[in-house]
């Protein structure tokens, strides 16, 4: 049987007297788009921030590709191939697109220039940024030196997603990627998600938007009161069911859930 690429068991995270995660479990299978939904305060963001390295859980265990991990920073998560597009996008507005793509892992020139004088290889970063954006169907070769603050919300999202996808990552976490976007820009982001999936990258999508979730997700993880209430698929359950699970009106027995991998279309 396929092993989850990202797995969490019994995760607990407390913030003072508030419990963000209450013995939550989590499974992401290779190549799938897993949506995480839940009411405000259900612990969606806390859950994914543990895998992103932005939070460290107080209890419980996490595995990436079968190896147990304990991330202390987003940097460590990235080293294990888990990239995150945060809701705030985490871009430096005054820096240009290529500087943002390589922020925190800049390329240095080969030889003495790079090793001793630590010179950045701007040419290569620009060229490769252009290629990464092109891979996702965004052509910016002429404008790669444009500062990010001059971009629209959808474009910034694209830059953020490109950054996550650029570094051979296997898992990309998207936190509310369409929350601040209009209809047209949201559609672009959903397209980007499908592109990522086509390239074999597993995606975790946090969203409030039910129609979007049901459009792109293979499986849907419903978070409630800090733990996993159920895992369903768009085929087995309706949007109304999902809302009912979120609010606690409906309980789904494990036999009716989709805890294992679904047949991921290639």
């Amino acid at each position: 049987m396929t092993e989850p690429i990202v797995k969490g068991r019994n995760l607990v995270k407390r913030f003072g007297s508030v419990t963000g995660l209450n013995h939550a479990d989590f499974d992401l299978y290779p190549g799938e788009v897993l949506a995480v939904i839940g009411d405000n305060g259900a612990g969606k963001s806390t859950l994914i921030k543990c895998f992103a390295g932005a939070h460290t859980p107080d209890e419980g265990q996490m595995w990436v590709e079968g190896k147990e991990v304990a991330f202390k920073s987003t940097h460590e998560a990235r080293e294990h191939g888990v990239e995150t597009v945060f809701q705030t996008l985490a871009v430096a507005p005054a820096l240009d697109i290529s500087a943002n793509l390589y922020l925190g892992r800049e390329l240095r020139k080969p030889g003495i220039l790079g090793k001793v004088f630590r010179t950045l290889d701007k040419k290569r970063m620009r060229k490769e940024s252009g290629e990464h954006l092109q891979d996702l169907g965004i052509m910016t070769v002429q404008n790669i030196t444009q500062s990010v603050e001059t971009l629209s919300g959808g474009q910034r999202q694209a830059v953020s997603v490109a950054r996550a996808a650029a570094f051979g990552s296997q898992v990309i976490i998207l936190d509310e990627p369409t929350a601040a976007l209009g209809v047209r820009e949201s559609a672009k982001v959903l397209n980007l998600i499908q592109d990522l999936r086509k390239r074999g990258i597993s995606v975790i999508l946090i969203s409030h938007n039910m129609p979007q979730v049901f459009e792109v997700a293979d499986r849907i993880h419903v978070q409630r009161l800090g733990h996993r209430a159920a895992v369903i698929t768009p085929k087995t359950h309706s949007m109304n069911d999902a809302v009912a699970i979120m609010t606690g009106a409906l309980q789904v027995p494990e036999s009716e859930q989709t805890l294992g991998p679904v047949n991921v279309p290639v």
């Binding site: 932005a54 920073s73 987003t74 940097h75 990235r78 995150t84 945060f86 705030t88 996008l89 985490a90 871009v91 430096a92 507005p93 005054a94 820096l95 500087a99 922020l103 925190g104 892992r105 800049e106 240095r108 004088f117 630590r118 010179t119 950045l120 701007k122 169907g137 965004i138 052509m139 910016t140 002429q142 404008n143 444009q146 500062s147 603050e149 001059t150 971009l151 629209s152 959808g154 474009q155 694209a158 047209r184 559609a187 672009k188 959903l190 397209n191 499908q194 086509k198 279309p265 290639v266």
Partner: protein
């Protein structure tokens, strides 16, 4: 699988929209904020040159550049700190601290009985002075990073602390030029370049500007300085060790202040604890007029050199025109407000 059902979206088209001329100017200034200050500097020189021909004499220009050297060098340190959205009010006090330490180590005086190993080789004295300024910068950085204190408050405090320490340790005694070995005053020695006269201090300042302009543009550290000033949370989420970057900025600024201390001894010709109590504010003026944003993440060191020169050119020009000191001070103040106004306009670049 067939192509996604969603229609084709053309993101390229959005990345390559046309802009009007005003927007283009705004965009250009946005990318190179020091350009507007360069225009102002050129305008100032032309206007004062027309008003008074003495303004453009090589002697006047040489003097103006030499007068810029203390504020100009310190402004490098201030720029680095302001780029991280910080501010350093202790900049002058640390420089004076380093300067007095240098001079007291180089000269044996009975007054400096707190320094029993005084009378050292001047090179060692200079190195000790630069190290002391670096340590002082590190103290600022440590307090800001470790305890999350606002830079304004920390440096307001250390400003007084280092002023006080200087007076306690060195007894407020001015060490006169003739008392010091020549090496201490090396930065003040000048040599002719065509009709102009440059001091080694001026050359050092220019070299430091080129060095830091290069570092900020071409190293990861430089990019991180901008990123931390721009949006510290974002910088942290992308895996940058923001605390280390911040601390290193205050440390490096300390090194620059130490070098400025040596330059000041050369420029002034003596080491006095009362050089200029307004140095910290003058560096902020130079940085702001030079187009670096007080909100962080935007600007360039080269702008601060231009800013310091604008202040000096306006001072010199108005004084040659016989304008009273009070009016000159007022003019500089208005210039600062204008510069901040331009910064706000430039920051508004959006589609």
């Amino acid at each position: 699988m067939s192509a996604p059902a969603t229609p084709e979206y053309d993101l390229d088209e959005e990345f390559t929209t046309k802009r009007s001329t005003v927007q283009r100017i705004q965009m250009t200034l946005h990318r190179y904020p020091w350009l507007s200050s360069l225009v102002v500097l050129v305008a100032v020189i032309i206007v004062f040159g027309l008003v008074n021909e003495r303004f453009l004499l090589p002697n006047t220009i040489s003097l103006m550049i030499q007068q810029t050297v203390i504020v100009g060098t310190l402004a490098i340190a201030q720029t680095l700190i302001i780029l991280t959205a910080g501010i350093d009010l202790s900049i002058g006090a640390i420089m004076i601290f380093g300067q007095m330490l240098m001079a007291n180590f180089a000269v044996y005086t009975t007054a400096s009985n707190v320094l029993p190993i005084a009378g050292q080789n001047p090179i060692i004295a200079i190195i000790l002075g630069i190290m002391a300024a670096t340590a002082a910068g590190a103290v600022n950085g440590f307090l800001i990073v470790r305890f999350n204190l606002p830079p304004f408050i920390v440096t307001l405090g250390t400003w007084s602390v280092f002023m006080g320490l200087t007076l306690i340790l060195f007894k407020a005694r001015t060490i006169q030029g003739p008392e010091m070995p020549e090496t201490m005053k090396f930065m003040g020695e000048s040599f002719p370049v065509g009709p102009f006269n440059f001091s080694f201090g001026v050359v050092t300042m220019f070299v430091l500007y080129l060095l830091f302009a290069w570092i900020l543009k071409n190293t990861a550290w430089g990019t991180h300085v901008y990123a931390v000033g721009d949006d510290p949370v974002a910088a942290q989420l992308t895996g940058i060790n923001t605390k280390r970057v911040l601390f290193s900025v205050y440390l490096v600024a300390g090194v620059v202040m130490g070098i400025a201390a040596w330059i000041t001894i050369g420029r002034v010709g003596s080491a006095s604890p009362n050089v200029d109590p307004m140095l910290n504010l003058q560096t902020i003026t130079a940085v702001v007029i030079g187009g670096t944003s007080l909100f962080g993440g935007r600007g360039a060191v080269i702008g601060s050199l231009i800013g310091a020169m604008i202040v000096n050119a306006v001072e010199m020009g108005l004084s040659l025109a016989g304008v009273d000191q009070a009016y000159r001070t007022t003019a500089i103040g208005l210039l600062v407000i204008l510069a901040v106004g331009v910064d706000q306009w430039i920051r508004k670049v959006k589609q």
